[in-house]
C-alpha cells in the first residue's frame, strides 16, 4: 500500500553507438516512497541529471524499468506520457522555469489551464499555491520583476498547483546565493509534510542535500552509497 512513487529497476541508459557509446546509467535501482525527499549527488557526468530525465519520462531507458505513480513509463504512448508529466510530475530547474511573457499568476495557473480547469478556479488555486510558497504580492508582474529566489518560489508554486505525486528538481538553488538557496530548499523540504509530495533533488551542494530524508550518491552511472532514510516504514528499503 505504500508503493514507491518512483521506481527505477536496473536502469541502463546509453548515448551514442559502438566505440563512441557512453553509458550514462549502468544499472541503477532506486525507489522513492510517497512523501520522501531524496537528494541525488555525485560528480559531473555521474548520471544524476540523466536519472532525473528518465524519471520524468523526458528520455527513454535503454534497458530496465521506470515506474512513476504505479505506471511503467515504457508502456505509455506519447500522449499518456505527456499527461503523466502534466498531472503527476512537477519540475523545478536551475533557471528559466517561468515563461517570461506570462505574469507570475499566469505562470502558476498554466498547468491548470492545460488541464482545462476553469479560469476562476484556476486563479483561486494558483493564489493558494503562491500563498503556500510565500509569494503574495505583485502577482500580475512578470518573472523578470522578481528576484531569483522569488522566481524559484513561483516555479515551486507552479509545481504544486496540481496535486503531484512527485517533484523533480535539478539544481533549483544553483543560481542563488547561499541563504536564498537554503530558503528555497527548505521550502521544497516542507512539501512532503504539507502535500504528501515526494521530491527528487539533484544537487552538488552538500548543504542543500542535507535537507533531504535520504542522500543517494552516484558515480560512473551507478548508485555507490546512500544515507539511511529518515522516512519511517517505507518502500525506501526497496532501493537496496
Amino acid at each position: 500500500m505504500n508503493d514507491p512513487v518512483l521506481e527505477l529497476v536496473d536502469v541502463v541508459k546509453t548515448f551514442g553507438k559502438g566505440s563512441t557509446e557512453v553509458r550514462a546509467l549502468n544499472g541503477v535501482d532506486l525507489a522513492v516512497s510517497p512523501a520522501e525527499f531524496v537528494a541525488v549527488m555525485g560528480p559531473s557526468g555521474c548520471g544524476k541529471s540523466t536519472l532525473l530525465h528518465l524519471a520524468g519520462g523526458l528520455e527513454d531507458v535503454s534497458s530496465g524499468r521506470v515506474r512513476v505513480a504505479g505506471r511503467d513509463i515504457g508502456d505509455l504512448d506519447l500522449a499518456s506520457r505527456a499527461a503523466l508529466r502534466r498531472t503527476d510530475v512537477g519540475y523545478v530547474f536551475q533557471r528559466l522555469n517561468l515563461l517570461p511573457s506570462l505574469t507570475a499568476l499566469e505562470n502558476v495557473a498554466l498547468p491548470l489551464k492545460l488541464e482545462g480547469v476553469g479560469r476562476r478556479e484556476a486563479s483561486a488555486r494558483s493564489l493558494d499555491a503562491l500563498a503556500a510558497v510565500g509569494v503574495t504580492e505583485q502577482l500580475s508582474r512578470y518573472p523578470d520583476d522578481f528576484s531569483g529566489g522569488q522566481q524559484q518560489r513561483i516555479a515551486i508554486a507552479r509545481a504544486i498547483v496540481v496535486e503531484r505525486a512527485l517533484i523533480l528538481a535539478d539544481e533549483p538553488s544553483g543560481a542563488l546565493d547561499t541563504m536564498t538557496g537554503d530558503s528555497v530548499i527548505e521550502l521544497l523540504s516542507s512539501l512532503p509534510g504539507r502535500f504528501g509530495t515526494a521530491i527528487v533533488l539533484v544537487t552538488h551542494e552538500p548543504r542543500f542535500a542535507s535537507w533531504a530524508d535520504r542522500v543517494v550518491f552516484m558515480r560512473d552511472g551507478v548508485v555507490v552509497d546512500q544515507t539511511a532514510s529518515t522516512v519511517p516504514v517505507s518502500a525506501a528499503g526497496a532501493a537496496t
Binding site: 549527488m41 535537507w211 542522500v215 550518491f217 552509497d225
Partner: protein, 177 residues
C-alpha cells in the same frame, strides 16, 4: 582555547561575578560551549595573576573587572588570526591519506571505498545537524554555531570530492579500465 579572551570580552562590557560570566559565556556561544564554574574561577585567577583583570569585594562576593592591560590584550585578540586546535575530524584526513597510501601500495580500491563511506557518514551528520537547526527555535548564537558546523562538514565533503577526483586521475586507477 580562547576562554580567557571570551571572559575578557564579557568583562569589557562591565564588571561581573564569576557565575554571571559562566552563564553569559554559555549564552553567547549558543550553549555549545559549557563551562564549569571551577574552570571560570581558575581562568579568572590566571587573568588576575597576569594583571588583565582586577578583583574587588562587593558584600562578600568577588566582582571582576577588566584592567587597562586587559583591554589592550583583548584588542590584540580581536585582531589576531585565530589559532585553532585541529578540529577532531582531522582524523578524516589521516584516515583518507592512510587509505590512499595502502591503495597505492597494493593497487586496490580500498581508498575509494573509504572515501565513499566517509562521505555517507558526513552527510548523515550534516542531515542531523540540519534537522537540529530547523527545529531549533533557539538563539541567534545557537543557529550560527550550527551553521559553522554545517559549513565545516561541507568543507570536508568538498575535500573528499577532490580526493576522489585526484584518485580517479592517477595512473593506477586508470590502468583498471
Amino acid at each position: 582555547m580562547a576562554v580567557r579572551e571570551g571572559l575578557l570580552a564579557l568583562l569589557h562590557e562591565g564588571p561581573r561575578h564569576g557565575y554571571q560570566l559562566k552563564t553569559e559565556f554559555e549564552a553567547a556561544t549558543g550553549g555549545v560551549w559549557p563551562l564549569n564554574v571551577g574552570q571560570v574561577y581558575t581562568t579568572l585567577d590566571r587573568l588576575e595573576r597576569d594583571g588583565l583583570v582586577g578583583v574587588s569585594d562587593n558584600e562578600g562576593q568577588k566582582v571582576y573587572s577588566i584592567t587597562v592591560d586587559g583591554v589592550s590584550a583583548l584588542g590584540a585578540w580581536w585582531e589576531a588570526a585565530p589559532v585553532d586546535e585541529p578540529p577532531p575530524r582531522d582524523e578524516l584526513m589521516l584516515k583518507v591519506l592512510m587509505a590512499i597510501e595502502r591503495s597505492t601500495e597494493r593497487g586496490d580500491a580500498h581508498a575509494m571505498s573509504v572515501i565513499t563511506h566517509q562521505r555517507t557518514v558526513l552527510h548523515s551528520m550534516l542531515q542531523s545537524k540540519r534537522r537540529a537547526r530547523s527545529v531549533a527555535t533557539t538563539s541567534l548564537a545557537a543557529r550560527l554555531v550550527t551553521d559553522a558546523l554545517v559549513v565545516r562538514a561541507e568543507a570536508d565533503l568538498r575535500w573528499l570530492d577532490l580526493c576522489e577526483a585526484q584518485l580517479n586521475g592517477t595512473p593506477t586507477r586508470k590502468a583498471r579500465s
